[in-house]
């Protein structure tokens, strides 16, 4: 057990650095660039029961220190992930992977989680509750404590692996939602997902994103993310995985000081494909600089 190692829901991670869902595909684009076994783990692309193409393009926009995406959960569907992506991943990644799951009904979440729960390569299931609930008037599960708790309880009942509920920051108060998930049996909480935003093209006078709005991420959101991780970690006893704008070893330490047990890195991977490798490389020196002996004792 090295000085970087942390425990996430009973599974030891060599380090707390986890590429975030949607910015690391199913791993092998990055495996061509560096040995991805150096990562704590990674969270794969948000997977739904059925294959999805996602939203029309343009799906990407930019802003000062960040980006917006309206990809819309493009993924090959749970069955294909099991039959094609996971076997391909196995060749390049020997650790447990974090399965990221999305759904548009409680039943869909449960079914997809059950499929992935049966996979030996999967260590944790990260349940993204930021999606709209088609039976609940399209409101996101993650903006309603009761809906988030219902997904948590039903998924927990159907699975064995640690369940991490990934929360949306687009709420007035994150605390009651996080607590509701904890009470419903969640093994961990991760946050933040992207903040809802938009851009307008002055030349065309139309929204840049075909979907009009999209999710903001990148360094621009870091202080908001840090604040929400802090509030959540104070309110719950289960581990919190912090993310939002993390781009350096110092950012990782800051997130951990706010109460995160592990830290996900999203948009940074898109700008610098070696971002996570560099962060892991830089962590020991940053810890030395601030007198941190081991990450487990940072708090």
């Amino acid at each position: 057990m090295g000085r970087l190692s942390v425990d996430l829901c009973g599974i030891e991670l060599d380090n707390p650095v986890i590429p975030a869902s949607g910015t690391f595909g199913y791993g092998y684009e990055f495996a061509d660039l560096y040995d991805i076994n150096i990562l704590g783990t990674f969270s794969f692309k948000g997977t739904t029961k059925e294959p999805r193409f996602g939203n029309p393009t343009p799906r990407i926009a930019e802003c000062a220190s960040g980006m917006l995406n309206s990809v819309g959960l493009q993924n090959p569907g749970a069955e294909k992930v099991v039959s094609e992506e996971l076997p391909r991943l196995k060749k390049v990644f020997g650790k447990k992977v974090m399965a990221n799951v999305s759904g548009f009904s409680v039943e869909e979440y449960v079914e997809t989680c059950r499929i992935l729960d049966g996979q030996e390569q999967v260590g944790w299931i990260e349940v993204n509750v930021s999606c709209p609930n088609v039976h609940g008037g399209g409101m996101s599960f993650g903006t309603d404590a009761r809906a988030a708790a219902e997904v948590t309880a039903k998924v927990k009942a159907a699975t064995e692996k640690p369940i991490i509920i990934k929360l949306s920051p687009n709420v007035t108060d994150i605390v009651p939602i996080a607590r509701a998930c904890e009470d419903a049996g969640a093994d961990g909480i991760s946050l933040i997902n992207t903040l809802l935003g938009m851009r307008i093209d002055l030349k065309t006078r139309k929204p840049v994103l075909k979907n009009v709005t999209g999710g903001l991420s990148g360094p621009a959101v870091f202080p908001v993310a840090l604040r929400m991780v802090y509030q959540t970690a104070k309110a719950v006893k289960i581990p919190v995985v912090g993310m939002g704008g993390v781009a350096s070893a110092e950012d990782v330490l800051e997130m951990m000081l706010a109460g995160a047990t592990a830290v996900e890195v999203g948009a940074a991977n898109l700008v610098n494909p070696y971002a996570c490798r560099d962060i892991i490389r830089d962590l020991p020196a940053a810890m030395d600089k601030y007198g941190i002996k081991t990450l487990k004792e940072i708090r």
């Binding site: 660039l33 990809v71 840049v208 898109l270 700008v271």
Partner: protein, 246 residues
């Protein structure tokens, strides 16, 4: 794909709002004509995708039009300045499909990747015809360069201020028979070429990109053979594969 720091060895205005930048550094990841690079500029969060115009032993050349913040920044780069660049992105053109007398069709800043393609095709002894289209005379570039490769070159300008008046598709009927075509330019031009073309061929597409190397799903399109990422399974898509949107 390779990431590296590349040094500007030349950055020159070659037409109205259009610049040519030569970057020196390891070009080994660039294997095919029609591939692109993704370039980080100061002050922009995301990288900027630009096609490779020519690749040499010690670097490569790009041609870009100033349209916004990133390209404006690039235009002010001086010899010796450095850029962080991802090189060797995308699939590139299928040179083997060309037949004896291929036709290359480019519009505006869709012209640059056709230059490396023309170099490779002429080196193989193909009879290459090129149609390049621009809005007006002041925007025309690379006619001479294609001529020196031994290509038959047709220039079209929308306002008729140089070459043939009209669009590249208006010139297509004048080039005689061709065995295959390669097209790059704005999407309306590609669509028009698709309709006018009489042989098989391939098209190079643009999309707003998040990463440029297949990680974010920002650039997807639907094709006959399934979903493709323009940055990874593209930017070049075969005629028979295309499903036009809208």
């Amino acid at each position: 794909m390779k990431q590296g720091i590349y040094t500007v060895s030349e950055n020159l205005k070659i037409a109205d709002g259009v610049y040519r930048m030569t970057l020196s550094g390891d070009p080994s990841a660039i294997t095919a004509a029609g591939q692109f690079v993704n370039l980080l500029t100061d002050g922009c969060y995301l990288r900027r995708p630009i096609s490779v115009c020519e690749v040499g032993k010690d670097g490569f050349t790009i041609i870009y039009k100033v349209v916004g913040k990133g390209t404006e920044k690039m235009s002010r780069a001086k010899k010796g300045d450095e850029f962080d660049v991802l090189t060797g992105l995308g699939n590139g053109y299928d040179v083997a499909a060309s037949g004896k007398s291929p036709l290359l069709i480019g519009g505006g800043v869709g012209v640059p990747p056709l230059y490396e393609l023309a170099k490779r095709l002429t080196a193989q002894g193909k009879r290459v015809s090129v149609i390049i289209g621009f809005n007006k005379k002041s925007e025309v570039f690379y006619e001479k360069e294609f001529l020196s490769l031994g290509c038959k070159v047709f220039v079209a300008t929308a306002d008729g201020s140089y070459g043939e008046k009209g669009f590249v598709t208006d010139v297509m009927k004048k080039v005689g028979t061709y065995t295959y075509f390669y097209a790059c330019g704005p999407e309306p031009m590609l669509k028009a070429v698709y309709k006018k073309s009489e042989t098989d061929g391939e098209f190079s597409f643009e999309r707003r990109m998040g990463c440029g190397f297949g990680a974010c799903m920002g650039c997807s399109c639907k094709t006959v053979t399934g979903n493709k990422r323009i940055c990874k399974e593209g930017p070049v898509i075969k005629k028979g594969d295309i499903i036009w949107e809208d």
